[in-house]
Each structure stands twice: as structure tokens, then as C-alpha cells.
Amino acid sequence: MSIKLNIPFKLFADCIPVKGANRGVLCDLQRSNIEFIPNSLCDLLHKYDGYEISSILRDHTKNDHETIIEYFDFLYANDFIFFTKTPNLFPPIKMEYKTAFEITNAIIDFNKSSYDFKKVFSELEKVSCKHIQLRFFSKIQSNELASIINLLNRKSSIIQNIKIFIPYNLQNTKNNLEKLLKKNGRISNIIIYNAPKTEVYNIKYQGKLLYTIKNIIDERSCGIINANNFVINSNNFIESKKYNSCLNGKISIDALGYIKNCPSISEHYGNIQNNTLKDALSHKDFKKYWNITKDEIDICKDCEFRYICTDCRAYRENPKDEFSKPLKCGYNPYTNEWSEWSTNPLKHETIKYYNLILD
């Protein structure tokens, strides 16, 4: 089937074109996919969605016709558009982001820490936090981990998903870690970093054991922007349009027990030993980064990946500027090239400033 020139075309509402400085992407939110498209096509789609292709041709000189037809052949062959006589029955997806609870996710750091896990988990319940990451920076034995996880086994707990990061340790055999996964159905991943080999084990119905050669030193290892971590779905896309894609809905407890938005940010709102998460949350500055969107961040605002990328406010190219680009991003939206951020000479001063330890 070929394209129809005289019937209005519509982009499927889950396919959203995003313009960048130099090129655009078509974000296919239901199929978790992106296609690079020229900015000129983004403009055409924006202007003519719901009109006949013939009207585009009419508005352009003959020279452009072949290219325009090629564009639409490509869009149609890949199911990004359809033809309909009733284009106004197909509205866009509403960019409205709603969650029942203020807090959606938490990071809990552990480095030979002395705070009380029991208290931490009961506090997380009180703010109805559903997703948690436990990051262990110091060695931990699987039996210690088991007793921590046991605290999370309450049947009626609101916690849905737990991700655990632990350093590689010969004594924690794969078998023991598998047992841990089975102990608590809420654990989706155990990530074993600094491992001799990168390997993934899918444990049926239980979750994943991920061994990675990458190392995590402490909270300063966080915040790396990488195309592999892009999340292409409507929830993330919509949240990114309205809120900060890392810090919105997040609460953290750093290795010393300080309650923070993110463990890497210096501002804290009390310590878990004496304060509640609820009180921390109600502090007027707690959410100060929550509303910083990619559309407001320098350079990111010109980047075609801005609604599928994560963000980082803790490590910025310019530490003095809250709206500066994430330091650990090596992408240049003006040239469309990726380079290694850590060896970029322009970033050296800032790397020193944050006291980052590089591998």
C-alpha cells in the first residue's frame, strides 16, 4: 500500500516528534523506539498533522516534492502515520502527570552506616514510597543482606520494587544471591559491581542477577548520562515535560543517615535517626529541583533526547548554575557526537571541584 495524497494523514498519538538543534527524533512511546528524522520533517508534522499530503506539496516548490514523498513513504511504511477522513477524532495524548503519592522512589545508601534500617523502611512506608534502590558501597555478606531484606517482607507493604547494588565479593556465591532474590518477590534486580566479568542471570519469576565489571565507589559514581539509559515510554516522557526526570518524587538517605533529595547533593533536611521523612518533605526547599525541566536546562533544551534522557542536578558543568547541563553527559546536540565526558579537558576543573574519583 502506498501513501494517499488526498486523504488527511495523522501521526499516531504515541509517536511524538521532538526537534533538536541539528536533527529531530520521533519518539515511539508504545514501541520504545526512536527514529532520527530531520528537523524539517518535525516542522512539517507539526504544521500539517491532520491535513492532506497534497496540501503540503501545494505549499512547497516542485524541487522539494520528491523528498516530501520519501519522508511520508518512510513514515507510513513504519506505522508512524495513518490516513483518515476524520482526523479530528484523534486527539493527542494529554501531557498530564499525576501520581497518588508525592514520593515515587527512594535511594538508600549504605557505607558501614550505623542508622537503623527498620526505621528507614517504616518511614518509607509512611510516605508511600513504591520503588527503592539500596546501594551498598562497603562490603556486605549475603546473610547480613538477608536480615535487612527480611525487614521488607511485610505482606501489606506498599513497596513494590527493590533494586540492590552490592560490591563483588567472593563469599557471596551466586547461589546465595539467588536465594536472596527468592526470599523477597519485590526484589527485581541485584547488581553486583566491580565483578570480574559482566554477566546477566534471569531467575524465572524472581528477578535478575547482574554482574558488571563497572565499579561504583560511592554516591559520586552516580549521574552518568548514557544513551543506554534512555527510557522511551509515555510515563517518562510526560514526567520529563513537567518535572525533573531524576529528582521529582525522589527522597534519599545518604550513607551518614542524612535525609536528602539526592545523596550527592549537599543540602540535607535532618537525619533519619531523629527526623521523619514527612517533616523533611514539608521543608520549603526540599523540592527545589523537582520542577526544573529539560526545557529549562542549558544545552539540554536544544537536545533531541530531552524527554527520554534522565537528568542530574547534583553534578553540573557549571556548579554555580542550577540550570547548567549535567556534567557527566558527553553528548553534543549541536554536532550530534558522543564523546567521553571524563577526559574532556573543559570539564577538568569541575571534576576537581566535585572531588570526583574517576576509574
Binding site: 499516531f12 498530564e96 497518588a100
Partner: protein
């Protein structure tokens, strides 16, 4: 009293999400899962139409009365102790299933009147009549596929000759046979001339419909006065087959996008829901290549989480909001 009772299943995600919103709205929620039959002593007081469930574990009492707002999401009130099920002879079991089912239906119908607000019904889910629904849909103004139920080969042949492409499906639900040894089933299937040729002149009554050539399907979830519509483009559409047949359907799932019902269709849906006396349910329509809306079927307790998620409708929020309002009315 701001109390909402939800009758549901343990693993129903939509219920979880609605409850989250209800708690943030400050409602007191009692969730009753029909699998938890062993956990309750249940009594039904016929005179005033109240149902009392006493938890054997916590001794907490849930009273469904004229003070409560009830959302009957799935399942039914856990009336039969699980321990007794399947211990009887199959004949006794059959009797009990029917006998107690009769009471459960009765309670369902009575609660519709006694509770302060009651939405959803197991009874409607159990007793939905495809041909009646088609008939009422027609009355509400919809087009319906040409449909016959017949036991006569000559009638079937005439139908086939007239419409060429015809389909068949179960009259009540999907055709499904399971024993310990095997399982076989079929949803909707094309009826070929060869199939007809093998039939005797007189056979078990069967439903036949002409095949509607679709532009796309529309799924509408209805909750009280709220309608949420989604268009589904499934392959092949617009005469287009999948671009690459090797590709897994999972990689190219059907496109599901928000849809606005034309006003007349919106009104026909509301009319139909009145005819069948349902406050909630899911309706499947087909928009044919002739641009007409064909009514296919209604599911009284259908899932809506994918409509909500794919179209970002936040249906759970709307439901919780409405139930909260009903509490304070």
C-alpha cells in the same frame, strides 16, 4: 461516613491504584477479595438488605449498608468457605454452586438498591447475552453485523451466499474445552465453504455473522457518566499487512491511541447502557471501511488499566474521585 467498599480480586492492579487515590483523598477503604472466602464469616440480613462480613483474623466487621459506597470491581462476596469446595460429589457440588450462586446474585441485586451508591455487578458479568446485547445495540441506534443463530444448513448456506465472508464464535463466551488430558479452544473464526459442506442438514444452534471490514476498533470504558475511548489499529489495517512478517507482534504491538467519540455515538452508548441497566463496562465497536460504527460486544467487568495507561487517561483517579464524591453526597 466516608467509607468505600471494594469487592475485587487479590491481584487486580486497577483496584490497588484506585485505593491509592482514595487514601490520598482521605477515604476509608474496605477491600474484600473474593479469594479470601476462608477469612470471613458472612451473613446477609434480608429485611434491611445489609451484608456483614466479619474477619476471622482481625475480628473487624465490614458492613455493607445504606451508608456505604460500593464498587463491585471483580469477583463476588466471598460466601462459600473454600475448604468445602470440591470435597463433595460432583452432583452435590453442581447443586451447591447453583444454589449459592442464586443467593449471591440475589444479594448483588438487592445491594444495588440498599447501598448508598453501588456500581459494577457480578450478576451482569455472568448473565450477559450476546444476542440480546446486539438487539439492544441496534435499538440504541448502532449498526450491528448481520447475525443469525441457526441449526439449519440451507439457512446458513443462504447466509454465506449473501455475505461471502462470514465468521462464527461461541454464543456465551469463547469456545473452550479442557479435560485433564487436553485443552482446545477458539475465539472468532472464519467459516469456510468446506466447513459448511461437512455439516448435516440439521445441527447444534450456532451463531454466524458477516465479516465487517474495519478501519480500526474502538474500546470504550464506561464508569457512571464518564466515557473513555481508545482506537485500536490492529493488523492488517487499511489493507496494509505487517511490513515485515517475520517481526514478532510484540515488537509491533497494535497502536492504541486516544479517541473522541462523535456525539451521536456517545449518545448511543449511553442509551445502550440504560437499556442493559449497567453503570459500568467496556464496549467494543468497529469502525468499518464504510465509516459506520458497528457494535460488537459489552464486557461488564472488563479490564481498563491498559486503556488508562496507553492513553494517559488516569481512569483510576477519576473513579476514586467519583467514589469520594458519592461518599460525601
Amino acid at each position: 461516613m466516608n467509607e468505600v467498599v471494594i469487592i475485587s480480586e487479590r491481584l487486580d492492579k486497577s483496584t490497588d491504584l484506585v485505593i491509592e487515590w482514595l487514601t490520598t483523598f482521605g477515604c476509608n477503604v474496605q477491600r474484600i477479595n473474593y479469594e479470601d472466602a476462608n477469612d470471613y464469616h458472612v451473613s446477609f440480613f434480608v429485611e434491611n438488605g445489609f451484608v456483614q462480613l466479619e474477619s476471622k483474623i482481625t475480628e473487624k466487621i465490614v458492613l455493607i449498608s445504606n451508608m456505604t459506597v460500593v464498587w463491585h470491581r471483580r469477583g463476588y462476596i466471598p460466601f462459600r468457605p473454600k475448604s468445602y469446595r470440591k470435597t463433595h460429589h460432583i452432583m452435590i457440588e453442581g447443586f451447591l454452586e447453583n444454589d449459592i450462586g442464586n443467593a449471591i446474585k440475589g444479594i448483588d441485586l438487592i445491594l444495588q438498591h440498599t447501598a448508598k451508591y453501588y456500581i459494577g455487578s457480578w450478576f451482569k458479568e455472568k448473565e450477559t447475552y450476546k444476542i440480546l446485547n446486539l438487539h439492544l445495540a441496534k435499538k440504541a441506534g448502532f449498526k450491528i453485523p448481520k447475525t443469525i443463530v441457526t441449526n439449519c444448513k440451507t439457512e446458513l448456506q443462504a447466509f454465506k451466499d449473501e455475505y461471502e465472508n462470514i465468521i462464527s464464535k461461541g454464543l456465551d463466551r469463547m469456545i473452550l474445552f479442557t479435560t485433564n488430558e487436553f485443552s482446545a479452544g477458539k475465539g472468532t473464526f472464519m467459516v469456510t465453504q468446506e466447513m459448511i459442506d461437512t455439516l448435516p442438514s440439521h445441527f447444534e444452534p450456532t451463531l454466524f455473522q458477516n465479516c465487517i471490514y474495519k478501519l480500526y476498533e474502538v474500546r470504550i470504558f464506561i464508569f457512571d457518566t464518564h466515557l473513555f475511548s481508545m482506537a485500536i489499529f490492529s493488523y492488517p489495517f487499511e489493507g496494509k499487512t505487517r511490513v515485515d512478517v517475520r517481526e514478532d507482534i510484540k515488537e509491533r504491538p497494535n497502536r492504541c491511541i486516544p479517541y473522541i467519540l462523535p456525539k451521536t455515538i456517545d449518545e448511543q452508548i449511553r442509551k445502550f447502557m440504560k437499556f442493559v441497566d449497567m453503570k459500568t463496562g467496556s464496549i467494543d465497536l468497529i469502525v468499518g471501511t464504510d465509516q459506520e460504527y458497528y457494535f460488537l460486544e459489552v464486557n461488564p467487568m472488563g479490564q481498563f488499566d491498559w486503556v488508562s495507561g496507553l492513553c494517559n487517561y488516569n481512569i483510576e483517579y477519576t473513579i476514586a474521585n467519583l467514589l469520594t464524591q458519592k461518599c460525601y453526597e
